[in-house]
Amino acid sequence: MKRMMLSLLLMLPLPVLATPPLAPESVLQINNRFTDQNGQDFVLASRRGNTQLVAMFYTSCRYVCPLIIDSAFGVERSLSADERRKLHVLLVSLDPARDTPEALMSVVAKRHIDTRRWTLARTDDAGVRVFAALIGTRYRKLSDGDFNHTSALVLLDAEGRVLARTETLGAIPDPEFLAKVKRALQQ
């Protein structure tokens, strides 16, 4: 009897193992291939499950991009240790031509970034266009290879839905945005 039950059980589909599809509002559903600072490929759907900050940047950017990293640090510093542990950060490069995993890693080293929670990533041109459009970043490549771009920190919930965004950058976080980060981390 026991054996029969077991074999019956084995014939049933295993709903626990099947991943339910992402929420329709999730920006993590694009299939473009991303590569992190270690050279590991991933798709955005693999980042499901954590509240995260996302932004776009590029490594050779001298003016605003360091400020984007400062801003994410600023948010982190304003959180409790518990909250901080739960918040992940994804920075995606606008500059696939120059931002190899090695270039991304150099920023990790220079800015003392904790890669247990932070990911610096690149994707191809098509991926950059779609991802930028999804998180509302406008950009244009300049003739000298630099970029003109709008800058924002975007807060995603664990499903990848956009909860909030701020274009107020700097080490002191935008209070309204920070409140939304804290609220998201409580859930």
């Binding site: 329709p24 400020l67 098509a126 459009a133 800058s151």
Partner: protein, 252 residues
């Protein structure tokens, strides 16, 4: 011998099947858009572009094979529910008021981008679009001709509540491209790159810190109202938006 040569000359040069694209030769473009970092005429590499905007029939075939782009299934991050393809009778029916040969409209940038990727192409960049759209039936750059300008402007000033005509009903330009003007507005791959965003148009501190480096945009030829209107329209859109007179074509 001479007759053999003459016969050879009569053989059509194009050997491949026509898939709706035409090759546009390399050249230079003095864009109406003047960027601080890019003042000289810009080189345009040779590329291929669709002769006509993508039609309802073509887009219907695409959503049949790519159900995630049917209006009943599309994710709201990729297209606005209630607007995207809202003029069709159903997710897979055009209905009596919508002709297969009309250009498809009410498509988001994401949907247009996905269509072009699905046929192994891409959306044209703005410079490519402007380069092609500068031509008339005889000249590659007709933009200085007041008569040409008036003709283009006439469309922009005509009411847009008429049903859209079918594509390719009026003469093609010198490249063999139809409907650059006079039918629908078109998405470009880099529509969001123009950075003439609402933030810049309002007087509320145009927050320079938003941008990495220089490269501000101004309009070079203020007489070219038609193109300025396109720029203003495209730069006011988000990739998820769609409108009743905005379509697209692909390039490669």
């Amino acid at each position: 011998m001479r007759s053999v040569l003459a016969a050879l000359l009569l053989v059509p040069v194009i050997a491949t099947a026509d898939d709706g694209f035409v090759r546009v030769p390399q050249g230079t473009l003095v864009s109406v858009l003047k960027y601080e970092d890019n003042l000289a005429p810009q080189n345009i590499d040779s590329f291929e572009i669709m002769r006509a905007p993508v039609t309802n029939a073509q887009f219907l075939a695409f959503v049949r094979t790519h159900p995630q782009w049917q209006r009943s299934q599309v994710s709201p991050v990729f297209a606005e529910p209630g607007r995207y393809l809202s003029h069709w009778q159903g997710p897979l029916q055009l209905g009596p008021g919508v002709l297969p040969e009309q250009p498809v409209v009410q498509v988001s940038w994401f949907a247009a981008n996905a269509y072009c990727e699905a046929i192994g192409a891409r959306l044209p960049v703005w410079n490519e679009w402007e380069y092609v759209a500068a031509a008339d039936t005889l000249r590659r750059d007709a933009r200085q001709d007041p008569a040409w300008r008036e003709g283009v402007l006439a469309w922009y000033s005509s009411p847009s509540n008429q049903p859209l005509a079918a594509v390719a009903q009026r003469p093609a330009n010198v490249y063999g491209v139809y409907d650059s003007h006079g039918l629908v507005w078109e998405w470009t791959q880099d529509f969001s790159a123009m950075l003439v965003s609402s933030d810049n148009r309002t007087q509320s501190d145009p927050d320079k810190a938003q941008f990495c480096g220089a490269g501000a945009l101004s309009i070079k030829d203020k007489e070219d109202y038609a193109v300025m209107m396109r720029v203003a329209m495209l730069s006011s859109l988000q990739a998820v938006n769609s409108t009743a007179n905005l379509g697209f074509r692909c390039a490669r």
